[in-house]
C-alpha cells in the first residue's frame, strides 16, 4: 500500500509538473515569523536618535542628577567624572588635536542623545537598564553640566535634550579610505 501511494504521488508530480510541487510561494516570501504587537515593540524599542526620536517621557535636573551620579556612577567614573577608573566623562576640551587627546562626553561626543541612549541601555555597568527615564535625564544633565554644556538650573526632557549643542558636533568625517596606498597610486 505504501509503495502504491508513493507511486501515485510520483505520477501526479510528473503529470502536473514540478513547479506546483516545489514552489511554495509565488511572491518569493516564506511566510515565516508573526506580526509583532505594539506592546512587544515598545518593550524593546529603547534607542534614541540625534533628533530626539525615541526619548521617553520624563525630565531631570542637574541637582537630581548629582545625587543619581553619586549613588550609581561615581564608584566607577570617580567623584566628579574625571577620576576614573572607568572612562573619563568630563574635561578634555581642546585636546583632540594634541599628542595626548582626552576623549570625554564633553570633548568628543557629538550628540547629547547618545549619552541618554547609552546610559538608558547599558548603565550602571553592574545593573544595566535599572534607572528610570527620570534618573537618566537627571544624570545626563549632571554630566553635561560638569562639562560646561548646560546651566545649573537646566531641566532636560525629550524637548530640551536634543537641543544641547555639543562641542564636537561637527568633528566627525566620513571614512575616506583607502587613504594609504590607494590602488594605482
Amino acid at each position: 500500500m505504501r509503495g502504491q501511494s508513493l507511486l501515485f504521488v510520483l505520477l501526479v508530480t510528473v503529470a502536473v509538473g514540478p513547479a506546483d510541487v516545489w514552489a511554495a510561494s509565488k511572491n518569493g516570501l516564506f511566510h515565516l515569523g508573526r506580526v509583532a504587537t505594539p506592546e512587544e515593540i515598545q518593550a524593546w524599542d529603547i534607542d534614541v536618535a540625534p533628533g530626539g526620536e525615541g526619548l521617553p517621557a520624563g525630565s531631570g535636573t542637574v541637582e537630581e542628577g548629582q545625587r543619581v551620579y553619586a549613588k550609581h556612577c561615581a564608584g566607577c567614573h570617580g567623584a566628579t567624572g574625571v577620576e576614573g577608573p572607568s572612562p573619563k566623562l568630563v574635561g578634555g576640551q581642546g585636546t583632540l588635536a594634541s599628542a595626548h587627546p582626552v576623549k570625554t562626553v564633553g570633548s568628543y561626543w557629538p550628540y547629547a542623545t547618545t549619552l541618554f541612549d547609552y546610559i538608558y541601555r547599558a548603565m550602571p555597568f553592574v545593573a544595566p537598564q535599572s534607572l528610570t527615564p527620570h534618573q537618566v535625564y537627571a544624570v545626563t544633565a549632571w554630566i553635561l553640566f560638569q562639562n560646561g554644556l548646560l546651566d545649573k538650573a537646566a531641566v532636560l526632557d525629550r524637548e530640551t535634550l536634543p537641543k544641547v549643542r555639543m562641542l564636537n558636533r561637527t568633528g566627525f568625517v566620513p571614512d575616506p579610505r583607502p587613504d594609504v596606498n590607494r590602488p594605482g597610486s
Binding site: 515569523g33 534614541v48 541612549d117
Partner: protein, 431 residues
C-alpha cells in the same frame, strides 16, 4: 614522552626544534604475554572492563607512559576534546580574549579558540525564548523564533571576523610581545545562517529605510547602525559556526555577520533589527570605533577591514633553536575581497619574495601563506605584506602613520616586523 618534552611549549613543538631528541618506543625483545598484560591492566575484570577503568584517565599524561599499541585505548565519547598534549589557549582579559594564531594551522579557527569581545559579559540565552524583532520602517513588524529563522533557506560561508581594535596598541610603538597578544583579535569560521535580505523581505521595506540598527540582548544591549545598501548583499543572520550552533561568546543563539566589516558591526545575541532613515549615532559608532586624526577630526563608519597580514611562525616570543630550513607561515586577509598576493621579506623590507598561498583562497576570509627559508643563524627582520584583489597593498607603519598620526587606536593594518637575533629569539619591532 620524556620529562624534557613535557616541558616544551606548543611553540617549541610547532617549530619541531627537538624532533630528533624524542626517543622512539621500541618493541621489547620478549613481547608480554596476554596474561601478563591483563594482569597488569585489569586482572579480574577482563578487557571490556579495562576500557571502563581506563576511560576516566583519558586526559592524564600519566596514562601514556607505555606503548599505545599494547594497551586498549579509550572508548568513544559523546562530545570530543583535544589531546591533553595540546594546550593552545586564548589570552584572556575580562571582556576580550585573543586567538593563539601562532598555534593554528590552515585557516579555520577552532570555535573554542575564536577571539571574544563583549561589552558587558557573555549572556546565557535560552534559544527557545529568544526572539528577533524586525521593525521600524517596514510594512509589517515581525517577530521570529530561532526555529523559524532556521526554516529559511540556509547559507554557509567562511569569513574572518576582526575586531577593529586588533593591533591597536601598535599605533604607539612596538607594545605587544607575541602575535597572539598583538593580532589575536581576528579569527575565521564557517558561518551558517539566513540571508538578512530574506528576513527583511518578509517584513517588507518601507520608503526611507536606508539604515539598519542592530541590537544585541547582552547586558550592553550592543548597538550599531549599518547602511542597508552596502550590507544587504552579503549580511547573514547566523545561528551556526563551524557546523554546530554558535558558541555563547560568539552570539548564541543568533548573530549578525557582515563579511569584511569591523567585528563590532557583527552584533551578537541579536534580538532587534530596526529600519531607520539615518544612523542612530550610538555610543559604539561615535565615542568608540572612530579614529582621531592629527587635525582633531575623527573618522566615522570605518567599516571595511583593509588588507592585512602577519607572519605567525616564526613570531614574537618564539625561538629558532637550529639553523636550516624554516617554513615561514602566516595569515593574510582583506575585508574588500580576496587576497591576491602575499610578499615576504627577511631583511626588513629591502627584498621581497612572493609567498605560496594555500587553497582555499576565499573573499573576506583568512588565507594561509607559506614561504621556504633557510636561516643561516644571522640577524633577520621578517615582514609580510598583503595585496588584495582591489590592488590595495598593506602599508608600512611609516606610510600609515604619515597619513593618520598615532591617535587612531582602531583600524591598524601596518606591516608587522619580527626581528630575529643571532640566538634565534624573535621579537616585535617597528622598522
Amino acid at each position: 614522552m620524556t620529562d624534557k618534552n613535557e616541558k616544551l611549549t606548543p611553540d617549541e613543538r610547532e617549530l619541531g626544534v627537538l624532533s630528533h631528541d624524542t626517543p622512539v618506543t621500541t618493541r621489547p625483545k620478549e613481547p608480554p604475554t596476554r596474561r601478563a598484560f591483563l594482569t597488569g591492566a585489569t586482572s579480574l575484570f577482563g578487557v571490556a572492563a579495562a576500557h571502563v577503568l581506563l576511560a576516566p584517565f583519558l586526559g592524564h599524561a600519566a596514562n601514556v607512559s607505555g606503548d599505545p599499541t599494547r594497551v586498549p585505548g579509550a572508548l568513544a565519547t559523546e562530545y570530543g576534546r583535544r589531546s591533553p598534549f595540546e594546550r593552545a589557549k586564548r589570552l584572556t582579559k575580562p571582556q576580550r580574549s585573543r586567538t593563539p594564531l601562532q598555534d593554528l594551522h590552515g585557516i579555520v579557527t577552532p570555535s573554542a579558540l575564536h577571539f571574544e569581545r563583549h561589552h558587558n559579559g557573555v549572556p546565557l540565552i535560552d534559544p527557545a525564548k529568544h526572539r528577533l524583532l524586525v521593525h521600524g520602517l517596514v510594512e509589517r513588524p515581525l517577530l521570529f523564533t530561532i526555529g523559524e529563522l532556521k526554516r529559511f533557506p540556509s547559507t554557509s560561508r567562511l569569513a574572518f571576523v576582526e575586531c577593529s581594535g586588533n593591533s591597536g596598541k601598535e599605533w604607539k610603538g612596538p607594545k605587544g610581545k607575541t602575535v597572539q597578544e598583538i593580532h589575536g583579535l581576528t579569527s575565521t569560521s564557517e558561518w551558517t545562517g539566513v540571508r538578512l535580505a530574506n528576513v527583511l523581505s518578509e517584513a517588507g521595506l518601507a520608503p526611507g529605510a536606508t539604515w539598519m540598527l542592530a541590537e544585541g540582548s547582552d547586558a550592553a544591549a550592543m548597538t550599531r547602525s549599518l547602511p542597508l545598501n552596502r550590507v544587504l548583499d552579503e549580511a547573514l543572520l547566523c545561528y551556526a559556526q563551524n557546523g554546530e550552533p554558535l558558541r555563547p561568546e560568539q552570539g548564541y543563539p543568533l548573530r549578525l555577520l557582515v563579511p569584511g566589516y569591523e567585528g563590532s558591526t557583527c552584533v551578537k545575541w541579536l534580538r532587534r533589527l530596526k529600519l531607520v532613515a539615518s544612523p542612530v549615532m550610538t555610543r559604539e559608532e561615535t565615542s568608540k570605533y572612530t579614529d582621531l586624526m592629527p587635525d582633531g577630526t575623527a573618522r566615522q563608519f570605518t567599516f571595511e577591514v583593509e588588507a592585512k597580514s602577519v607572519i605567525t611562525t616564526p613570531s614574537g616570543g618564539q625561538r629558532l633553536k637550529k639553523t636550516g630550513y624554516v617554513e615561514i607561515r602566516g595569515l593574510a586577509w582583506s575585508g574588500r575581497g580576496r587576497v591576491e598576493k602575499v610578499e615576504v621579506s627577511v631583511d626588513g623590507g629591502k627584498n621581497w619574495r612572493t609567498a605560496r598561498l594555500q587553497a582555499p583562497i576565499l573573499p573576506k576570509c583568512h588565507t594561509r601563506f607559506c614561504l621556504d627559508w633557510w636561516w643561516d643563524g644571522g640577524e633577520a627582520v621578517l615582514q609580510s605584506r598583503c595585496i588584495d584583489e582591489t590592488g590595495y597593498r598593506q602599508p608600512t607603519r611609516q606610510e600609515l602613520v604619515e597619513v593618520r598620526g598615532t591617535n587612531s587606536y582602531y583600524h591598524y593594518n601596518a606591516i608587522q616586523s619580527w626581528q630575529i637575533d643571532k640566538e634565534g629569539n624573535v621579537r616585535n619591532v617597528q622598522v
